[in-house]
């Protein structure tokens, strides 16, 4: 499907979406509460069939966190970027997509470790990179570390 068709179909399943087409891919921005139902449709619906989550990350925009999901369909060969906006930066939460794409397990662990986003219904949420007792989330913009030597 082309980006136009993707936009039309996406609007049908979730009308409150906003699109951003400045980059290479079509970006669909949705609120974090609606993530799981939308993702389920994107994975299973015949017209989308996004079976390949090739990148999952998070961006800290200081006033909100933005979860970024890069999805690709190996059948239709189209790509979409789904962004979920988390407004609560103190105690960020979002549903896990582990049930839909198994690759999300370690990627969500990584986001939890470095951004502090809690994934609900995640099978094994843990700090995979840093020690269990590490204080703070290093990739947040407000992270301070007095041992770090700034250039």
């Amino acid at each position: 499907m082309t980006n136009e068709e993707l936009k039309n179909s996406f609007t049908q399943i979730f009308p409150a979406v906003t699109f951003d087409e400045t980059g290479e891919f079509l970006n669909a921005i949705i609120p974090s509460e609606e993530l799981l139902p939308v993702m389920k449709v994107l994975r299973s619906s015949k017209e989308f069939l996004f079976d390949y989550l090739f990148c999952l990350t998070c961006v800290d925009w200081k006033d909100h966190l933005m979860m970024v999901y890069f999805l690709k369909s190996n059948t239709h060969n189209h790509t979409i970027v789904v962004k979920a906006k988390i407004t609560d930066t103190v105690n960020p939460q979002i549903e896990s997509v582990y049930d839909i794409w198994k690759t999300a397990e370690l990627n969500e662990d990584e986001v939890f470790d470095l951004f502090g986003v809690k994934f609900l219904n995640h099978p094994n949420l843990r700090r995979i990179f840093l020690e269990e007792d590490w204080v703070g989330y290093p990739l947040r913009k407000n992270y301070v570390d007095e041992h770090m030597i700034e250039l």
Partner: protein, 175 residues
């Protein structure tokens, strides 16, 4: 003996200045054996480990100098070549590996990362800035990563260092 004499602690009294003939000769034999049979631990964390593997292979062939037997367990190793960055989470493990090695044990810090943090010195929250914060180091090899020749050179330097050790003399000095 030259360096050793210069560094003597002032006020220390020796009954036999060089530990006596017998002890010195024993030392010479032991040091010869130790310096020519340094078994490294199979331990590599990142990029430098590849250059270490190059040192093993036929072109450089460290087995010529007696480094041949690479042991997987620290109990049987004499030398730990720390090849690659050590991060905060790895630091206790490295310390533990070092503690598990029986005496005498030697450490080579291979590459810029292990010496000072190297490319990961600034703006990093997790890298240990020099493994000498964790374990004592015998020889430092700079480079990112050092060439195999540099590693070989460091190992020969380590052999020189071992040859100047004084195992029995220290025992005599203690008494």
């Amino acid at each position: 003996m030259g360096l050793k004499d210069k560094l003597e602690f002032p006020g220390q009294i020796h009954e036999t200045p060089d530990g006596g003939f017998m002890v010195t000769q024993l030392d010479a034999v032991i040091n010869w054996a130790r310096s020519n049979s340094v078994w490294p631990l199979a331990f590599g964390t990142s990029c430098c480990a590849i250059e270490m593997m190059h040192t093993v292979n036929a072109k450089y062939d460290w087995s010529r100098f007696g480094f041949e037997v690479m042991r997987a367990t620290p109990r049987q190793a004499d030398l730990i070549i720390v090849s690659g960055t050590i991060v905060m989470k790895m630091a206790p493990v490295l310390k533990r590996l070092y503690d598990q090695m029986p005496e005498p044990r030697y450490v080579i810090a291979m590459g810029a990362c292990t010496i000072s943090g190297g490319p990961f010195f600034y703006n990093t929250y997790s890298v240990v800035k020099g493994i000498d914060h964790i374990i004592p180091v015998d020889v430092y090899v700079p480079g990112c990563p050092p060439r195999p020749e540099a590693l070989l050179h460091s190992m020969i330097a380590l052999q020189e260092k071992i040859k100047n050790d004084a195992y029995f003399r220290k025992q005599v000095d203690k008494k």
